[in-house]
């Protein structure tokens, strides 16, 4: 499976994503500059974290107009897997590929810490390899990670089983205290209606090697490789 890792000016988790993907047998990854216009030959796309265009206007607001985004939209429309991590999630929301938006953390602080994640659904190509009941330990690193969507959108996400991850405590309970940034309903990651576009604020690529303190991020890439 060949992954495209899109590089926007200001992306800074692109190398981590490529290294993480390349650590799997049967997976390869290449950087794709945001001015490219084609994703031919790729099987999956990752929009990595960072501060594309300096987060000017809003996070992801300018990146979504990059030339490669037309190809990303086509790729998504064809039902192929697209993952947006952190700034990548913000870009997918700005581009309308995922509902809602990411706004300033409730406590205003930039948060860089490991969090616990409860898997909301294993019925996606991104979560099927997560062991049932397993609470994942994955880091976050963001200033604007508070997920916002109106009540109607939240109800739809729930009804359609599209919340992939929620912030929780070590026992898997999505309590208000376990919510680091004020996200509505503790939402950390969601997918689109077609279940092939996935955005999350935590960084699975930073939890793919034992040296980094957790390998729980590997379940997400492994899920795709199993599909």
């Amino acid at each position: 499976m060949k992954f495209a890792v899109i590089r926007f000016p200001g992306s800074n988790c692109d190398q981590d994503c490529v290294l993480a993907v390349r650590s799997f047998a049967g997976a390869s990854a290449e950087f794709v500059w945001h001015k490219e216009t084609s994703l031919n030959g790729f099987d999956a796309v990752i929009l990595p974290g960072g501060f594309s265009y300096g987060d000017y206007l809003r996070c992801g607001a300018i990146a979504r107009f990059s030339p490669i985004m037309a190809a990303v939209k086509e790729f998504a429309a064809a039902g192929r897997p697209v993952i947006g991590i952190c700034n990548g999630f913000q870009i997918l929301c700005e581009a309308g590929l995922l509902p809602g938006a990411l706004v300033r953390n409730r406590g205003l602080h930039f948060l860089c810490e490991h969090v616990w994640l409860a898997t909301g659904t294993r019925a996606t190509a991104f979560t099927r390899a997560v062991p049932e009941g397993r609470v994942l330990r994955i880091p976050i690193a963001h200033g604007e990670g508070c997920y916002f969507a109106d009540d109607e959108t939240l109800a739809r996400l729930r009804d359609e089983d599209r919340v992939l991850f929620r912030y929780c405590d070590a026992d898997g309970r999505a309590t208000p205290d376990a919510n680091p940034n004020g996200s509505r309903e503790n939402i950390a990651g969601i997918c689109n209606e077609g279940r092939n576009v996935f955005g999350l604020m935590p960084h699975p690529e930073r939890a793919c090697h034992p040296e980094l303190g957790s390998t729980d991020g590997r379940f997400l890439i492994q899920s795709l490789l199993n599909s």
Partner: protein, 78 residues
Amino acid sequence: MAAMKVVVTVMPKTSVLDPQGAATAEAMKHSGLSGVGRVRVGKSIEIEFEDAPDRAKLEEIARDLLSNPVIEDFRIEG
């Protein structure tokens, strides 16, 4: 020399959490300003034009680029 200036004001929707506004309100209270109620922080974008702009296009850009309709409202003046 620009012939005219348009100002687009972008504000967070009242339904969206605005921690920046809340922190600013607290700071104003601590600085001795009495009667401070809810404070919201938005942004103001000044655009200079040589000639009168295409209003429909400007409206589209204010909606799609300068603001995000999920979380913000905007108004165009000038």
